[in-house]
């Protein structure tokens, strides 16, 4: 058995990693909840955002956190355009086609990045990358604490956007009743693309939060995407609160299980949870419908 301090520290670290998972899953679950599609390109889009942050830091000297106002709108625009001009028209409204088109997109993005940047792994050195905050006997990494705080803020913003603005009302209308929304004059294709854009914007935020402590290579988004799917499935497809809680749960679980099983087998816990939830409770913990 480990002493309690180590377990508490592992739990807190898990919560902080989980916050980033939650942020990535937030985009995925929003897209699922409104468009009812699984976005396989989510991981590759995250990699794109991470490279954008890396590039702006290395070439333009912009701090990763300061890059947020640039990267987030860029990701929104990319997402909007992809849904409006590629995914929407190419898939003819068929679910299996959406899966395949987003898979195709992820192959294109990932390998285009590979062709340009090769498979080298890159990191950013910032003054605060290894800064820690002492809380009693525990040392917590400050970039990851910031990550936690920003995730909560983004979740709050998203909630306000969905519940208090006209665009949010339109998004919820389309999610609930596509035809009815069209009949009252909502341009469904536009709302779809906006939602996809918001999902990608979440990735932009996640990339800015990740880069001070994480590395990037053309495949690094893929490492997150299955975790994000797990979070979404666990929290219930389309549920925002579910994504937040699911992300934190998965983060803690990963951290604790790699403490006991080692890094290579620690990952397996996530996939087993994923499979078990899908098989036994596909609605997830907070999902409304299967």
């Amino acid at each position: 058995m480990y002493p309690p301090e180590i377990l508490i520290e592992a739990t807190l670290n898990g919560l902080m990693t989980g916050a980033i998972y939650a942020l990535i899953a937030l985009g995925l679950t929003l897209i699922y909840g409104v468009l009812h599609i699984i976005n396989f390109a989510h991981g590759a889009l995250l990699t794109c955002a991470m490279f954008a942050v890396w590039g702006s830091s290395v070439w333009l000297g912009i701090d990763p956190y300061a890059a947020m106002p640039v990267v987030v709108p860029l990701m929104f625009a990319l997402g909007y355009l992809l849904q409006r001009w590629v995914i929407g028209p190419a898939s003819h409204g068929d679910d299996n086609n959406v899966l395949l088109v987003t898979l195709g997109l992820s192959i294109i993005l990932e390998n285009a990045l590979l062709a340009v940047f090769r498979s080298d792994t890159r990191t950013l050195d910032t003054a605060y990358s290894f800064q820690v905050v002492a809380v009693g006997p525990l040392l917590l990494s400050s970039p990851r604490l910031i990550g936690c705080a920003v995730t909560l803020a983004v979740t709050g913003l998203l909630w306000v956007l969905l519940n208090r603005t006209d665009t949010g009302r339109a998004i919820r209308a389309v999610a609930k009743e596509q035809l009815g929304a069209r009949l009252v004059g909502i341009e469904v294709e536009h709302i779809y693309a906006v939602t996809f854009g918001i999902g990608c914007a979440c990735l932009g935020v996640a990339a800015c939060l990740l880069m001070p402590t994480f590395y990037v290579n053309p495949r690094s988004g893929a490492a997150f995407v299955l975790v994000a799917f797990t979070v979404v499935v666990l929290g219930g497809m389309g549920s925002i609160a579910g994504a937040l809680i699911g992300g934190l749960l998965i983060g803690v679980m990963e951290s604790i299980s790699s403490l006991y099983l080692g890094d290579s087998l620690g990952q397996i816990g996530i996939f087993l949870v994923f499979i078990l939830v899908l098989l036994l409770r596909p609605r997830g913990l907070f999902g409304a419908r299967a």
């Binding site: 003819h92 086609n97 997109l105 294109i108 990932e110 996939f271 098989l279 036994l280």
Partner: protein
């Protein structure tokens, strides 16, 4: 199924079998062998995905199980290659049954089925990477032992013929599915599962049958892969790319047609070689083109290249008498 119905498939197999005797180079032969292995894995995917409409994103689970079973039996237990091959196919089929039983019983469809198969393949990959019998991360190396009993041939043409024979069998099985009662039920489940159930089709049994045939073919491709390269590790055997290739070829070639996977594998293979010719040394360019091809096919030719050719053919046939009148 009558003899006439499988005639085109047998002729195509025979034509393929003639290829190595036209004096092509060993390099070309090696390329074609890889294409055939991909085609076989894709033919397996097409049974479940094409005819059954259940899109699996984790066919690597079957490919890898076939490959590892063959390799482990030979390396760790000193078995011969042929029984190893047969048991590899059997183990793959069993994996198909288990995954199918769990996910179809839980009524997973569409995206959910795709995700769960992907997760199963990932679990296999992590386990194979971590345990000892698979050689862990170092993988397994089959010694070079040429000879019929070891299924290794100094003459590449014999191995090519073996691969062709398996692809030929898969072609005939696919054709059988097109015209059999089982196939009709499978297609009914694809088109509308509730309606199929209402007329008395046991959807669970039909889908289980499909995933087992599908897994057997893909596992056979895995066995062939090991015998061809004499090496296997977890990132190849259970890697995502195998799962993607297995679905890419049928979608590009023509999903739910007997010839689709073979046509798709040939075209994608040729596309890959062509890009290597023009953009050598740039990693990933060929895969970018594969991704573009996938999206273009779905957007413009949902029936794949086979469907495209058929459509153009039909248009020409319609236009011909009109031209004569003019």
């Amino acid at each position: 199924m009558t003899a006439r119905e499988v005639l085109p498939h047998l002729i195509a197999t025979a034509l393929l079998a003639c290829l190595p005797f036209l004096g092509i180079s060993n390099t070309a032969l090696n390329f074609l062998i890889v294409v055939l292995i991909t085609a076989l894995a894709a033919q397996g995917w097409n049974i479940l995905g094409g005819f059954g409409g259940q899109y699996s994103f984790g066919h690597a689970a079957f490919f890898g199980t076939g490959a590892y079973t063959t390799a482990i039996l030979q390396v760790q237990f000193g078995w011969g290659a042929w029984p190893g091959f047969l048991l590899g196919v059997f183990a793959g089929t069993l994996t198909g049954f288990v995954i199918g039983f769990l996910s179809f019983r839980a009524n997973l469809r569409g995206s959910y089925f795709a995700l769960v198969t992907l997760a199963f393949a990932e679990v296999c990959r992590i386990v194979a990477n971590a345990i000892g019998i698979t050689g862990g991360a170092a993988g397994l190396l089959l010694g070079l032992r040429p000879g019929f009993t070891h299924l290794q041939f100094t003459d590449r043409r014999i191995f090519f013929l073996l691969a062709t024979a398996l692809v030929g069998i898969a072609l005939v099985v696919s054709r059988w599915i097109e015209s059999s009662r089982f196939g009709a039920q499978l297609i009914a489940v694809r088109e509308n599962e509730e309606a199929a159930k209402a007329v008395g089709v046991n959807a669970l049994h039909v889908k289980l049958g499909a995933i087992m045939i599908s897994a057997a073919m893909t596992a056979a491709a895995g066995c062939l892969y090991v015998q061809n390269f004499l090496y296997i590790d977890a990132n190849v055997a259970y890697g995502t790319w195998i799962s993607i290739e297995a679905l890419l070829a049928p979608i590009v070639g023509g999903v739910g047609t007997a010839f689709g996977p073979l046509a798709g594998a040939l075209c994608l293979g040729a596309l890959g070689e062509l890009t290597k010719l023009f953009a050598d040394g740039v990693p990933g360019i060929d895969l970018v083109l594969f991704g573009i091809a996938l999206i273009l096919i779905i957007a413009l030719a949902p029936q794949g290249l086979i469907g495209l050719v058929r459509r153009l053919w039909a248009r020409r046939a319609r236009r011909a008498p009109f031209l004569k009148e003019a």
